[in-house]
Every structure is written in structure tokens, then in C-alpha cells.
Amino acid sequence: MLTISTELRAKILAHALADHPDEACGVIAGPVGSDRPERFIPMLNAERSPTFYRFDSLEQLRVWRQMDDRDEEPVVIYHSHTATEAYPSRTDVSYASEPGAHYVLVSTRVADRPEFRSFRIVDGAVTEEDVVVPPE
């Protein structure tokens, strides 16, 4: 189960819509072990592609070091699909390298109806999970 605030969910959706038709990507960091997404970190898609994303390697180093300094970890890793469903592709599964993270997929294939879903990807296995947005 992913528990995420209205505000953070909205930020992910806004990023995905703004970058459409390129895939958008980013991280939400939270305190190590808390499973709480707290700090929104949109990342550059170094591929700038409508079908592939990759974090810029030096930006990734900077962000990972910063999380380490703050005792944080990547709680959510998100990206968008711009013409297909919000479900992890074979490519997404083969590159998933943070077994503790919630992988959020957004689809912007229909402009005014973005889809927002969350998954765990561990050892090549995908499990969808509920997204809970507590009332403010």
C-alpha cells in the first residue's frame, strides 16, 4: 500500500502532464524505514524521450548523496507513460533497482484523465498495490 498526500500526488501528475509527450520521472524521498513519501524531487529525463526515461547520472549522484546526508531513502520512484497504460513495462521491470521503493506509474495517454497507479517491483515480480490518499 502506498500512502501519499493529495499534494504530492498532484505534484507527480502535474509533472507528468507538463512533460508530455516525453516521459517524466522523479523521486519522493522520505526518512529511512518510515515508508512515508515526504520530499518531492522531480528529475531530468536525460533521454528526453516519449518512450524511455533515465535519470541524469550526475544529478542522480547528487540526489542520492543528499538523501544519504539527510537519512532519507527513495520511497517513491515515479515516471509516466505517454501513450500506454500506467503499468510497468518489461523495460521498467528489468531496470528496477530499488526493491524497497514504491514504483508509481502515471499515464498521460488521455489528456484530461491521467492514470495514477503504484507497484512494488522485487526480483523481477510486479505487484500492484492500493494508493491511499488520507483526507487532509
Binding site: E23, C25, V27, M43, E47, S49, P50, T51, F52, Y53, R54, F55, S57, L58, Q60, L61, W64, I77, H79, H81, T82, A83, T84, P88, S89, R90, T91, D92, Y95, A96, S97, E98, P99, G100
Partner: protein, 94 residues
Amino acid sequence: MAIEVRIPTILRSYTGGAKSVEGSGSTLGELIADLDGRYDGLGERLVDDSGLRRFINVYLNDEDVRFIGGLSAPVTDGDTVTVLPAVAGGAALP
């Protein structure tokens, strides 16, 4: 000679859970071979027939080694090498 190598979560099964290990060598390639000698299988996760694996980022201090010679980048005592699997994916194949 001691070069600190920081290991990402998914590769810690090769190092008995250690987040940081030490190695020696005068180039990144030698350092990786040194580590592979002690942490069996780690080398193959970092290097393939054509050199450093494409979706593994290796940094020497603050630089991405792709831009400073890859496996032939010189390393020296006091350096820190950081390994981070690339965060990537998408609807299609890269």
C-alpha cells in the same frame, strides 16, 4: 592502498550486506578485479564484454567514470568509488 567503494542496496548480497568495502588497484578495472576476487560475482554485475555495464553508474569521487576513461580511469589511495544502478525504464526498449 585503500580505495573506498560504496555499494548500492541491490549489490550488497555480494558483499555480505556491507554498504562500503575497500579495494586496491591503480585503475578502476584493477580495482573491480580486486573486489571480484573477494566478493565473487560482483565483477560480472559491473562489467561485461564491452566494458562497464551500460545501466550501472560508477563514479570516481564526483565524476562519472564514463567521462574520465571508464575502466582505465586511474584510481589512487583516498579515492571514493560509488556505484549506483541507473534509474531508468519506460514504455519501450532503450
